[in-house]
Amino acid sequence: MARLKTNLYDVSKCTACRGCLIACKDSNQLPAVMEPFKGNYSTHEDTNGNTYTIMRFIEHEDPVDGVRWNFLKWQCMHCLDPECMKVCPKNAYTKTEWGATLHDEAKCIGCQYCSYACPFEIPKYRKHTDTVTKCTLCVERVEEGLKPACARTCPSGALTFGYRDELLQQAEARVKFLRANGFPRATIYGKVELGGTNKIYVLTDTPDKFNLPVDPKVSANTWVWQDWVRPYAGWLIPLALAGSAVSFVTTRLLADKNDDHSKGGHE
């Protein structure tokens, strides 16, 4: 297996300047999505079709540490064994040799089953392309030997890019350092979660303090889809899933048979 390349995101260095968020928009040519301010610096509560990454701002207070303001850059985790890829009826998802989970908009029919299947609900529907979208780990940049836009712009050094094995070693050393220097609950996230993700986080506290699932789980439905439905997608879906939570998906899939996606004329 080729060596995996990924981002290491060390929250202990992050100042939440959000340069990464905008560099992502610039690199991926994404329009702004305006939402009103609701009392938290993180205007968007979640990623959306035109916003592949957001910053979470989470406040905590306890008698020992006092106030802590935790920042978390949030985007696709590029799972080593991605659910989105397993469930996509059009095989729009692929994995690059170095570990990016890639989504091909040309194949996508916008059914959004990947969104339901993703343990983090990352892929999001985008109206103007009628597809789902998500972080690409800036594959076109990485293929040219560049860093992803977010890591490239990060002023504080919180985001770095490199070989996953090396970054994991760095992360382990960093966690050790942090545990000895005021952050006894510091931990790595993404090393073992979901069998490993191709985004590595160094957290200064337990994952729940960053609104991360402590033990993320794959949806129980996934295997049904993966093993039974997808192979027979062309004709079995209406029977298997009519009326279920994923009926939207099937509707899209059927619609796809008749619309112009396959002709490539959709704008």
């Binding site: 305006m34 207070e61 091909d104 076109e140 940049r141 712009t153």
Partner: protein, 1072 residues
């Protein structure tokens, strides 16, 4: 770009990627499929064009990538990202820097299609008196009309001669009916032609954003060290052992500074301390956070001075040799009940005669190097701060005692010889009625700890505008002319050139010289206690030669009469300017890239003042709040308040001329970063529509004004008719040549027009011309060509300290860390013990200082350019005087009458104008030297019990004009909000996300509540007091909107510089 093209490219790109992926066969992935999803990199094989970020003063480099046709013609932007070669940011960019694409182009939210940012104005716009709308106009029509307005207003209000106090009449050449504000986002060359144009018209109401952000930096740093500048520079923060971030939210407002502090922490174990009323993004990553009530910095720092002295933590050799600690002060000096000797309570000012040194019979300042004499500065200082014990300080500041002690212990450890500590500050320090003294308090602390003039040390004034340093250097401020020389006043002491140079050269006022020749000889012979400023006459005459060319000659005092003379006792700064405007005393206003309807204090009043103008010229990229002050929208308010007028367009007769300006990367020029690095920015894109560079605008306007006066023979029009103005690329050219401006600005020899190689070579005999002496040395003649050193992009750093001597150019004379003589011990050679690596300069007795005199050995050398007179060796009496710009040559602990501060020689704590507290440490409440302008709008704590402050966000910049019009930034911070503690929210029944109304006597605003654990109530003198904070960057225009916080802030200023007290005032808050 549409999807079709994308998909075609996608396949094309796919083919290339597949080939490179052939190694990966057998992975179990469908590589063909992978490759087809990979888009082609848009910026592949595209050369990025370097520019410098237009937001904060860090000076980050950015690369502009664009699509061009075969002939090189610009088509559209592709991307803008950090410049990896620029050593300041190394390719990094914060939210603002990363959003630069949006400054010109955006992606449509509905279709994703790339388009010009619709908020950019593409044609000149005119608003007629009483009109409800803008009309598009042609440039020629606009510029001709403005030139006529300028002429009419000037001619009808011009004061050519004036009677002065002694009954004589002098030439003053000024008009008080035209005013100009702004300029700090412009390039240096633009600021320079603006200052020159305005002064030639006789404008004395001339102000820039510096007044509202860092005027106290000059007001506090210049009297302490000689120059009002950031002592070190951005990258140098990586050399520090400890950073005290106080009055700055560096992680948000100067993210590249934070980058280097984090670098210091990671690589040398530096500690980062955040002192702020609010737990900020800086506090979140700091090692130590201490809350402090707004407006109590001097109490906080006064306690630090006491702690340093009581515990013997000062660097003794440094203090004795490099500061005025050992100097003796007159016996008459006294301090009682919060007042220094010489106070006049009626005038609210001091007679500073007794804040002076004692001199011995030979005229030298008396000293006691044992620091024991009760009249020496050290002992007086010790006595002064003896009242600032930890308990008293914490009663005032509300800082928990354990946190305060931890700060003291951590930062004062940098007094060790092998340690340096830096102080980083911004508006949290400056925007107070004691702003300049806040900075003086930093100076006292840093001089005691031996942290000035050393790598990793310093007082780092973090400038908030990309070229506010340059705009200040170019003197877009009324009280001095370019290069920090006091501007001439209507007085006997400034009546002609000779009187003027005597008045502005330290120690020269009483010279018997009656001619310039005699004066020159006296200067040559030496004037005691004059420092490097002994050369001022050379800077003045060279400036006049630059402005008036052949018309400035020996026989007419080098056309000194042409300079406008302001009234000495009158204040023309921002607040008095708007007061005058409000009273209808000003007819015409130029608004150059600034937005006082959002940014001015008591913004309701400033907005109303604009309605009293006859005409206004607004130059900007967008129709911001100040351009649109006459619209219906501008007068909407959440509640009715008797102090706030409601007007509509038909009531407002101001004629408004809006001139669309080019964005930063649509033109060329230089900007001086906060660390004084003057960097060139190249043009990376064409201006949008018909927008034009400010340089083009001023050039065209002045040409038209000159044309209107061309036939005049009146002597009072000579300042215009004789003004040199030759910036066109070639005669008849449409575009001005930025390098022509640079040559004049940086100085040339009159004989051959070639650059003067440094300000030491400037002369006062008319042989040199130089628009701003501090920039002299930035240009040179190399290999038969003109070289503007600001364009240098060499990345080597032989010092290993991040000085990068050949990356751009730093004023003065490419010195990267000023006062660097202090980086070695008094002997000039030995580094401070244990600090060999941070030695910047040293005395080298083996080499000559002057290549033309090879047998005179001994010179200053080093890894930085020595901030010292090269040949001043151990034999020179000034050998241990590192502060060459100061008369006494020593760092100033006690500000004597030589460079008097308005409120006293030592910083003393006074409460803000609006305070919930009775004085604790003395008997004065507010700064006794500050004058109150609007007593009727004073908020008292019974009605307004909550302390309020304003702050900035990383996602927005200043008044927001340059960020709220950018969708990507508006998206991240879309609305005005107010931060308050959970305790106060409970008390007031306010929930997170709800709308609130905040009230003061100046007005009311609406803001969304951000209820947070990051604010805590203060316990002050035993009682609980709440403080809230809000960003001041919102207004009614742009994609992100909200009420301007400055509709609440008071009109009251710092006694020295009249910066408004934006940062500490009283209010009340309720649910909307």
């Amino acid at each position: 770009m549409n999807c079709k093209i994308t998909r075609r490219q996608l396949f094309k790109g796919g083919g290339v990627a597949v080939a490179s992926l052939s190694m990966a066969a057998g992975l179990g992935f469908d590589l063909q499929a992978t490759a087809s999803a990979v888009k082609e990199l848009r910026i592949k094989n595209v050369k990025g064009i370097p520019t410098v970020c237009p937001y904060c003063g860090s000076g980050c480099g950015l690369l502009v990538y664009s699509e061009r046709d075969a002939s090189g013609k610009f088509i559209k932007l592709l991307s803008v990202e950090g410049d990896p070669d620029n050593p300041i940011n190394q390719g990094k960019a914060c939210a603002k820097g990363s959003s630069m694409f949006n400054l010109r182009e955006i992606y449509d939210p509905e279709t994703g299609k790339q388009m010009i940012n619709p908020k950019r104005v593409q044609k000149p716009m005119y608003r007629a008196p009483g009109s409800e709308k803008w009309e598009e106009k042609e440039w020629d029509w606009m510029l001709d009309k403005i030139a006529e307005k300028v002429k009419d207003t000037r001619d009808s209000s011009f004061i050519h001669k004036e009677k002065i106090a002694d009954g004589s009449e002098i030439i003053v050449n000024r008009t008080e009916k035209i005013a100009s504000i702004g300029g700090s986002p412009l390039d240096n060359e633009e600021c320079y032609v603006l200052t020159k144009m305005m002064r030639s018209l006789g404008v004395v109401y001339l102000e820039t954003q510096a007044r509202l952000c860092h005027s106290p930096s000059v007001g506090g740093l210049a009297p302490s060290f000689g120059r009002g500048v950031m002592t070190n520079h951005m990258i140098d923060m990586r050399n520090t052992d400890c950073a005290l971030v106080m009055g700055s939210n560096i992680a948000e407002n100067h993210p590249m500074g934070m980058k280097w502090l984090l670098h210091a922490r990671e690589n040398r174990g530096a500690k980062i301390i955040a002192v702020d009323p609010r737990y900020t993004r800086t506090a979140a990553v700091a090692d130590l956070y201490a809350p402090m009530r707004s407006g109590t910095d001097i109490a906080f720092l006064g306690g630090m001075v006491k702690y340093i002295i009581d515990n013997g933590l000062y660097l003794k050799d440094y203090v004795v040799n490099y500061t005025n600690a050992a100097m003796l002060i007159k016996d008459e000096y006294d301090f009682k009940d919060g007042l220094f000797v010489g106070y006049n309570s009626e005038k609210r000012s001091y007679d500073t005669t007794n804040w002076d040194y004692k001199y011995d019979a030979s005229g030298t300042i008396a000293k006691d190097e044992t620091l024991q004499d009760p009249h020496c500065v050290f002992q007086l200082m010790k006595k002064h701060y003896s009242r600032y014990d930890i308990d008293t300080v914490c009663r005032i500041t509300g800082t928990p005692k354990n946190k305060y002690l931890e700060v003291l212990k951590t930062f004062c450890a940098t007094g060790a010889a092998n340690k340096t500590g830096t102080i980083c500050y911004a508006m949290g320090i400056t925007q107070h009625t004691v702003g300049s003294q806040n900075i003086r308090a930093f100076a006292v602390v840093q001089l005691l700890l031996g942290n000035i003039g050393r790598a990793g040390g310093g007082i780092n004034a973090l400038r908030g505008e990309n070229n506010v340093q340059g705009a200040t250097d170019m003197a877009l401020l009324y009280h001095y002319i370019p290069g920090y020389i006091s501007s001439p006043t209507s007085s006997a002491a400034n009546k002609d050139l000779l009187s003027f140079v005597k008045a502005v050269t330290p120690g020269a006022a009483k010279l018997p010289a009656t001619t310039m020749d005699e004066f020159r000889n006296a200067v040559k012979a030496g004037i005691p206690y004059s420092g490097w400023k002994v050369n001022t006459s050379k800077w003045v005459v060279s400036l006049l030669k630059a402005w008036y060319g052949d018309a400035a000659h020996k026989d007419n005092g080098f056309a000194y009469d042409y300079l406008p003379k302001r009234t000495a006792t009158k204040d023309y700064s921002h607040m008095p300017m708007f007061e005058a405007m409000y009273k209808g005393e000003i007819d015409g206003l130029f608004v150059n890239g600034t937005n006082p309807v959002v940014g001015g204090p008591d913004a309701n009043k400033e907005q109303e003042a604009l309605t009293k103008l006859k005409w206004a010229v607004v130059i900007d990229l967008w129709l911001h709040e100040t351009a649109d002050f006459w619209t219906y929208q501008a007068w909407e308010r959440p509640t009715k308040n008797d102090n706030v007028k409601t007007l509509s367009p038909k009531d407002i007769n101001t004629e408004v001329f809006f001139l669309p300006a080019a964005a930063v990367y649509e033109k060329e020029g230089t900007a001086a970063s906060t660390g004084r690095w003057v960097q060139f920015r190249w043009k990376g894109a064409d201006p949008v529509g018909e927008s034009k560079a400010d340089l083009w605008i001023y050039n065209e306007l002045e040409k038209r004004i000159k044309k209107l006066y061309a036939t005049s023979t009146r002597v009072e029009d000579e300042p215009i008719t004789k003004l040199t103005w030759n910036y066109d690329e070639h005669p008849g050219a449409e575009e001005p040549d930025v390098l022509k401006v640079a040559n004049e600005l940086c100085g040339f020899n009159v004989a051959d027009g070639k650059p003067v190689e440094g300000f030491a070579k400037l002369a006062d005999d008319g042989s040199t011309a130089c628009g701003c002496w501090v920039y002299c040395g930035a240009t040179t003649w190399k290999d038969g060509k003109f070289l503007y050193k600001t364009q240098l992009r060499q990345k080597e750093d032989p010092s290993g300290l991040g000085l990068y001597p050949n990356w751009s150019w730093a004023w003065p004379m490419n010195r990267r860390i000023v006062y660097n003589r202090c980086s070695v011990q008094p002997d000039g050679v030995t580094p401070w013990p244990g600090d060999e690596k941070r030695r910047l300069v040293w005395w080298d007795p083996t080499k000559p200082a002057d290549a033309t005199k090879p047998d005179v050995l001994g010179t200053w050398a080093g890894v930085d350019v020595p901030d010292f007179i090269k040949g001043n060796g151990p034999a020179s009496p000034a050998f241990k005087d590192p502060f060459i710009m100061l008369p006494e040559g020593k760092g100033v602990l006690f500000a004597s009458s030589k460079g008097a501060m308005k409120e006293g020689p030592f910083p003393e704590h006074y409460e803000p104008w609006e305070s919930p507290l009775e004085p604790i440490i003395n008997k004065q409440s507010m700064n006794p030297a500050t004058k109150v302008i609007q007593p009727d709008k004073h908020g008292k704590s019974d009605k307004y019990p909550i302390i309020a402050t304003t702050f900035r966000l990383v996602e927005h910049w200043q008044t927001g004009a340059l960020t709220r019009n950018l969708p990507w930034l508006a998206e991240l911070m879309p609305n005005m909000f107010v931060e308050l503690s959970e305790e106060l929210a409970r008390e007031k029944g306010i929930e997170n996300g709800q709308n609130t109304i905040i009230s003061t006597p100046r007005g009311d605003i609406e803001a969304i509540a951000c209820v947070t654990k990051r604010w805590k109530p203060f316990i002050l003198d035993g009682r609980t007091v709440h403080q809230i904070g809000m960003p001041w960057q919102f207004g009614f225009k742009g994609y992100a909107t909200g009420d301007p916080a400055n509709r609440l802030t008071p009109i009251v200023g710092d006694a020295n510089t009249m910066i408004p007290e934006y940062k500490a005032w009283l209010c009340d808050i309720r649910r909307a």
